[in-house]
């Protein structure tokens, strides 16, 4: 298919000229073949796009329709692509009989606190790395890169013992602490890269005028760095959304499972002996929809944040 796609483009201009001349029947043989190839290429292009669209959309479509379907549609060996009996029962059940609101609240709390902790702990450090010269600066930067390569999951046992000592096992704050490990490193690197691109003259002027470094940092640098901080917070936030392994290590479900994050909750719904697919589907839709909307609205912002550092370097 990849061979056919460019054909479409390259023969694009000459062909209309001939058509305009009103002599389609007298086209040289090569031209006729290329016209045919062009049409075939067009068909292939749309076939490919349609196949990919089905591939991309099918899982999402299926779960949306399943969320509106009754059990008789889901526990059958026949295919149902539309809910035979449209019902909102799954949504009602998800809210009333499963602790869905608790799961969402817990997840928001954990991700929010992680983002906050990441920013608070890292911003002044990032500023120091970007602006001050001191022994061990290079070493710290290298260490940051090395730490970034260390997935928290590898230190599973150590984290478990650490939280045990701090009495934070089975506590959302314990999860925040573990997630902060990745968050601090990422936020620091992100902010530092952004600050590297900001001119230092403003702060120099402020220091000459008698401001303390803290004042310069607080009143000049922080307002300027807001976009970078926002992007770092959002990425940190989103990293926590889907994290399963560490959450599963820290949190043990209580009697009704209300202390879980939503990914653990959805997993427990699926491994439940009842496997309530309809409720699972409804809960998935409720949780995913706002996330996907946020993602699409924030996408532009992400990319502008991306271009400023990292890959663009």
């Amino acid at each position: 298919m990849s061979q056919q796609l460019p054909v479409v483009e390259i023969r694009r201009e000459p062909a209309p000229v001939n058509a305009a001349a009103g002599q389609p029947g007298r086209l040289p043989a090569g031209r006729r073949i290329s016209l045919l190839g062009r049409r075939l290429g067009s068909v292939a292009l749309y076939v490919f796009l349609t196949v990919m669209a089905v591939f991309a959309l099918f899982p999402l479509y299926y779960v949306v329709q399943a969320s509106f379907a009754g059990a008789q549609n889901l526990y059958t060996t026949d295919l149902h692509l539309f809910p035979a009996h449209f019902t909102l029962a799954n949504y009602v059940t998800a809210f009333t009989q499963e602790p869905l609101l608790n799961w969402i609240g817990n997840t928001l709390l954990v991700c929010g606190l992680t983002a906050l902790c990441g920013l608070i702990c890292s911003t002044s450090g990032a500023y120091a790395l970007a602006r001050f010269r001191f022994a061990g600066r290079e070493l710290t930067l290298r260490a940051l890169l090395a730490l970034q390569a260390f997935p928290g999951l590898l230190a599973l046992t150590a984290y478990y013992l650490l939280l045990n000592t701090l009495h934070l096992l089975n506590n959302l704050l314990g999860l925040v602490l573990i997630y902060s490990a990745g968050a601090v490193v990422f936020c620091c690197w992100n902010t530092k890269t952004y600050l590297d691109g900001l001119p230092v003259e403003l702060e120099q002027a402020a220091l000459l005028d008698g401001a303390t470094p803290l004042q310069a940092f607080w009143h000049i640098v922080l307002p300027l760095a807001t976009p970078a901080l926002a992007v770092a917070a959002l990425f940190t936030f989103m990293t926590g959304w889907n994290e399963f392994a560490l959450a599963n290590l820290v949190l043990n479900a209580n009697a009704n499972g209300s202390n879980l994050t939503f990914i653990l909750g959805l997993y427990s719904l699926q491994s439940d002996f009842r496997t309530p697919w309809g409720i699972f589907a409804a809960a998935s839709v409720i949780v995913s929809l706002p996330l996907m909307l946020i993602f699409f609205f924030a996408q532009r912002y992400f990319r502008s944040g991306l271009a400023q550092g990292g890959l663009a370097n």
Partner: protein
């Protein structure tokens, strides 16, 4: 780059919150894991464990019944298969979306990038349902086409389970490559296409000698980062297969990749006596491999960890 001159005190004060936090939650766990890897610490010996030197590493790397190399091998196979699929699917979709003849481009763009926006943990659980033997829609479609006895044991057969988690990972990750490649394609000046046409280059030659070399600089870091992320993939695969299916109690499951293997040896339901020391050695060995890959990768063009974090955010 100009630097600010400040007192040593100030520098320490600015760095302190970050370094203190990192010492507790980043550095200590790593050092403790390193220490554990030289002990015989396990659930049963937690009161009287002792230093045993490099014995865990010897067992991991040089003993015949070690699972290390089979697990590493199937993880690397997974990485190679997945990343090749990402590249091919990402390239094809990007070429299609870059074609000005396609009508309704914004529509196709949104649709084809939609898997990127969906929260991956949830979509993994959705895919698990799609693969389900009796009620999953894939087998339902098969039954519709090939009769009632049709059935593909997607997650029950080792090879098919491997293929299933590849499919899911391709679904999750190709949009990232589409975006990267599309960005590079849009940076190619139109005159090049015209010049190539005048010089008589065919479409394949144009792709091979113009498009590909111009897209490669963007592709190399994306590929390396993606390979590293796939190597340490846990969530998606675990949520779908838990590392299974397990054919024999002595062998790791067909989709038990390095992270899942480690996790199952500590938290697995069938593990009575997790051998923390041994698993720590496993973790440290993995870290060395990952650090080497990252180092090589950063030499090849990925300069900051930012892009890997973006992938992690989606992973």
């Amino acid at each position: 780059m100009p630097m600010l001159r400040v007192k040593r005190r100030t520098i320490v004060a600015f760095l302190l919150p970050m370094l203190a936090m990192m010492a507790v939650i980043n550095l200590w766990p790593i050092l403790y894991t390193l220490y554990l890897s030289t002990t015989n610490y396990s659930e049963f010996t937690s009161d009287n464990y002792r230093f045993i030197g490099l014995e865990n590493y010897r067992q991991l790397l040089f003993s015949f019944d070690s699972d290390f190399f089979p697990v590493l091998w199937q993880t690397l196979l997974y990485v190679v298969v997945c990343v090749s699929c990402f590249l091919v699917v990402g390239m094809l979709t990007a070429l299609a979306l870059n074609n000005p003849r396609v009508k309704g481009l914004p529509f196709w763009r949104v649709v084809l990038l939609l898997p990127w926006a969906a929260p991956s943990g949830i979509t993994a659980l959705i895919w698990k349902f799609l693969f389900q033997y009796d009620f999953g829609p894939f087998n339902q479609i098969g039954r519709l086409l090939f009769g009632p006895q049709f059935g593909i044991p997607w997650l029950l057969n080792p090879t098919l389970a491997f293929i299933s988690v590849v499919i899911v990972n391709v679904w999750l990750s190709y949009p990232f490559f589409t975006v990267v490649i599309l960005g590079a394609l849009q940076g190619i000046p139109g005159e090049l296409r015209e010049a190539a046409r005048i010089d008589g280059a065919g479409p394949w030659q144009y792709f091979r000698h113009v498009t590909l070399p111009l897209v490669t600089p963007a592709l190399v870091p994306a590929t390396i980062l993606s390979a590293i992320t796939t190597f340490q993939m846990f969530n998606t695969v675990f949520l779908i297969t838990q590392g299974g299916p397990v054919v024999s109690a002595l062998k790791p499951g067909a989709t038990e990749f390095v992270m899942i293997y480690m996790y199952n040896r500590i938290l697995g339901a069938t593990v009575a006596n997790p051998h923390y020391g041994f698993i720590a050695a496993f973790a440290i060995t993995l870290f060395v491999i990952l650090a080497a890959l990252t180092y090589l990768g950063s030499g090849l063009g990925a300069r900051s960890p930012r892009a890997s974090s973006i992938r992690e955010a989606r992973a």
